[in-house]
């Protein structure tokens, strides 16, 4: 395997104006503008091998998108270095651009009023594909994404899900070696999310392309990314396997109990998440799990007991709300 992305202490800070509310503040801001510096990304270092699928996790404004933009050449960093496919991305060398693609969930590059196929045709010219290459790749994508009858429709007549499929197809016509996907499933319904996910997985397997993905939906990351990178307040907090992330940050375990008779109060054992008839769910600190389990088995008549990690969404949520420094 070869390294395709190498980042060393990459940083980005912005200077933003500050303005108060009200007539007076607007008049004052005519004369002098106050500014402050926001550090969006602080000294992030990592490297990615060819063919990897890496998920970027973090709350809004954590610096995920900024990082992705620097790697795809849209933003110049204020510090550090990055090398993508051997290029310095922000030089935006055409040979570099021909090998990458960027998909942003909430933006579109297809032309609104005309049929999808004509937007594709534009990309054919921009990426200088021969007609045969274009034909071949188009057929492949049409089959994989089931675009068939969508191609002749104007973009404005497509549903959000259909449009996203077409956006993705447009972004892949030139067979990029690196895919930057920024919230690709944003706003899609669950089944469409799943289909897009499956497609990305297939595409990665078939072509060996490297995929960098940010998403709000843990399901995306869980299904696609063996490796996750957690960014919070612009800092890299974790880089490794998803399972390790859970092990490292999940401070609690979930106990699911099936009792012989419904019990009145379980709060002496831990935090009660739900209790319905004879079925109850408790949350206990990880280091106490063994001890609490023993106590429960001793004091209650238990039919069934199950110990599990909490859902990954919750772990992530905890990580971010605690700041985890």
């Amino acid at each position: 395997m070869s390294t395709v992305i190498e980042i060393d202490r990459l940083s980005k800070s912005y200077v933003v104006p500050v303005r108060g509310a009200g007539v007076r503040a607007s008049i004052v801001s005519l004369v002098k503008r106050k500014t402050r510096t926001v550090e969006a990304v602080k000294e992030i270092s990592l490297s990615v091998e060819a063919g990897e699928v890496v998920g970027f996790l973090g709350p809004n404004g954590a610096g995920k998108t900024t990082t992705l933009k620097m790697l795809s050449g849209l933003l110049h960093p204020t510090g550090g270095t990055a090398s993508v496919l051997g290029f310095e991305p922000w030089k935006r060398n055409n040979d570099f651009l021909r090998q990458i693609t960027l998909v942003m969930g909430q933006r579109n590059q297809l032309i609104w009023d005309i049929p999808v196929i004509d937007s594709f045709d534009r990309n054919r010219v921009i990426y200088r594909l021969t007609r045969e290459e274009y034909r071949e790749r188009l057929d492949e994508l049409v089959e994989l994404l089931e675009l068939g009858e969508l191609l002749s429709k104007p973009v404005r007549n497509l549903s959000l899900g259909e449009r996203m499929k077409c956006e993705v197809a447009a972004a892949l016509l030139h067979h990029p070696r690196i895919l930057f996907l920024d919230e690709p499933t944003l706003g899609l319904d669950v089944s469409m999310q799943r289909r897009l996910r499956t497609f990305v997985e297939q595409y990665n397997k078939r072509t060996g392309a490297t995929v960098l993905l940010t998403s709000h939906y843990m399901a995306d990351v869980e299904a696609l990314c063996p490796r996750v990178v957690v960014i919070h307040h612009g800092e890299l907090l974790f880089d490794g396997k998803l399972a390790d992330l859970v092990r490292k940050f999940s401070a609690q375990k979930t106990l699911v109990l099936e009792l012989e008779e419904s019990q009145e109060d379980l709060s002496r054992f831990g935090q009660v998440v739900s209790q319905e008839g004879s079925r109850a769910t408790l949350r206990v600190p990880k280091q106490d799990t063994a001890e609490v389990t023993a106590r429960i088995l001793r004091e209650l008549k238990v039919q069934d007991l199950n110990v599990a990690d909490p859902p990954i969404d919750e772990i992530i949520d905890q990580v971010f709300s605690r700041g985890m420094a």
Binding site: L102, M104, S119
Partner: protein, 261 residues
């Protein structure tokens, strides 16, 4: 050249997009016709009080109006809508997609939108120009015709460069589409030969906003009063302005990407 292939593709797309609304062409003809009628009416009012205006005869002024509309239409077919779209794309962030494309961003941005029906302006402008030449039986020989085309080319390059400079400001200021109003406001002054304006306005319309070169100079060429030196000057200035706009655009891109320049 790839830029030419892109031009063809975008024109095709523009035609496809608007061909579904063919009746728009009629409305465009109507609106342009009205616009032209209103300008011609103003000229008619003026010439009801005088025989020449600053040395220009009525037919020469209507020829100038024809050129005014030809240039107006050329801007409105591609340059204005494309750069307007570019400014919107800066606000929405869609411009990011342009930057990830392996083609010159300025070319992509300048071609991105085509309003094919605005060719109505060019059409009516050409009609006005030809009618004024024929009616006054102006003698337009090879020399005048060549000079006219050269002058028009220089004017077009200057106007395009000026638009690029204005549009590039979008990298610094958000609500920049208003800046385009500077151009449109100044351009309306091109309906009259800039020679009649007081000095400060004449120079503004010549050197700051290139209205004089886009409209007045070609009109002078048609009526046979453009000297060779003024044409050479126009071509030279066109080159300078084009180079400057190109440089400024690059600075803008660097600023957009947050490079400390």
């Amino acid at each position: 050249m790839n830029a030419l292939r892109l031009l063809v593709v975008y024109f095709r797309i523009g035609l496809l997009g608007e061909a579904q609304y063919r009746v728009n062409f009629l409305f465009q003809l109507f609106e342009t016709g009205l616009g032209m009628a209103s300008v011609l009416a103003a000229i008619w009012v003026v010439f009801s009080q005088t025989d020449t205006l600053g040395g220009w005869k009525p037919a020469e002024l209507t020829a100038l109006i024809g050129i005014y509309f030809i240039v107006l239409g050329s801007i409105n077919v591609m340059v204005a809508p494309s750069l307007q779209k570019f400014m919107e794309d800066i606000v929405t962030g869609n411009f990011d997609y342009t930057l990830t494309k392996p083609a010159d961003a300025q070319v992509l941005v300048s071609l991105s939108e085509v309003r094919i029906w605005r060719l109505a302006d060019v059409l009516l402008g050409a009609v006005a120009l030809v009618v004024s030449i024929v009616r006054e039986s102006m003698v337009v020989g090879w020399v005048e015709g060549g000079k006219f085309l050269l002058a028009l080319l220089a004017g077009a390059v200057m106007v395009y460069s000026f638009w690029i400079v204005l549009a590039t400001l979008a990298f610094w200021f958000i609500r920049v589409e208003n800046i385009l109003q500077i151009f449109w406001a100044m351009y309306t002054a091109g309906r009259w030969p800039v020679g009649i304006y007081p000095g400060w306005l004449k120079w503004t319309l010549t050197l700051v906003v290139p209205v004089a070169f886009a409209v007045t100079v070609p009109a002078e060429a048609v009526s046979g009063r453009a000297s060779g030196t003024s044409l050479l000057g126009a071509l030279g200035l066109a080159c300078v302005l084009f180079a400057f706009s190109r440089w400024f655009w690059r600075v803008g891109i660097r600023k957009y990407a947050g490079a400390s320049s």
